[in-house]
Amino acid sequence: MEIVILISFALLSLSMLLIFIRLLMGPTLPDRVVALELLATVIVAITGTYAIFTDRSSFIDVAIVVALTAFLAAIGFARFLERGGPRDD
């Protein structure tokens, strides 16, 4: 069981690294916003893994809050882009 949890952590960390590369590369601002949203999704998955790892169920609450914040951030960024705020890609 321990080794499975470690492998899941490794896979999730590797995906965070790849998403972070896209966040730095991303040619336009919407690309970066999509990368940020996926980063938050991966953080939710990592929180679930950590809840299983430490055997504490309170971390599920953290996952709920992170998911909510990521959604609000994505919507806010989308409104900001659509209303034509100052952009610096």
Binding site: M1, V4, I5, I7, S8, A10, L11, L12, L14, S15, M16, L17, L18, I19, I21, R22, P27, T28, L29, P30, D31, V33, V34, A35, E37, L38, T41, V42, V44, A45, G48, T49, A51, I52, S57, I60, D61, A63, I64, A67, L68, A70, F71, A74, I75, F77, A78, R79, L81, E82, R87
Partner: protein, 147 residues
């Protein structure tokens, strides 16, 4: 015996969650333009989180945790398409370049870039006149993946 089987099932869910999330990450890194990247990130990412929450649900085997994990899954499944729609729409108005091999762009010349109003193509003449069309539609930029 039951414990062992349950552990195997949890391990299966956790590993498939990791693999799907990694797939989403590879997709967002390797695909050519915004729309295809969004297609990779939304679906595979949501599936990865859902599988991990199912694993947590089975691991804790508690009604409260189960309800919370189900709430996370429902929330992700509801909000991921909404956020993707909002970002995709904003990207279309901003004029994000699309892939050079894109076959179809059905919104092209249909969106009024000032009022953000979509023409269906089935309007009568009077309706089109009343809509005071502005012909400032930006041509969609097409990019090649090879730099």
């Amino acid at each position: 015996m039951t414990e062992t089987i349950l552990n195997w099932v949890i391990a299966l869910f956790m590993l498939s969650s990791g693999i799907f999330t990694l797939l989403a990450a590879v997709g967002i890194l390797r695909l050519p333009d915004l729309m295809t990247r969004m297609h990779a990130s939304t679906k595979a990412g949501a599936l990865g989180v859902a599988l991990m929450m199912i694993a947590a649900m089975l691991h804790f085997n508690d009604l409260v945790v189960m309800a919370k994990a189900l709430a996370v899954i429902m929330f992700i499944l509801i909000t991921a398409p909404i956020a993707a729609h909002a970002i995709g729409r904003a990207g279309y108005f901003v004029g994000v370049p699309i892939w050079v091999n894109t076959v179809k762009d059905e919104l092209f010349n249909r969106y009024d870039s000032d009022t953000h109003r979509l023409r269906s193509g089935l309007e009568t003449e009077e309706e089109l006149k009343a809509m005071k069309t502005s012909n400032k539609d930006k041509p969609r930029i097409r990019v090649t993946t090879k730099k």
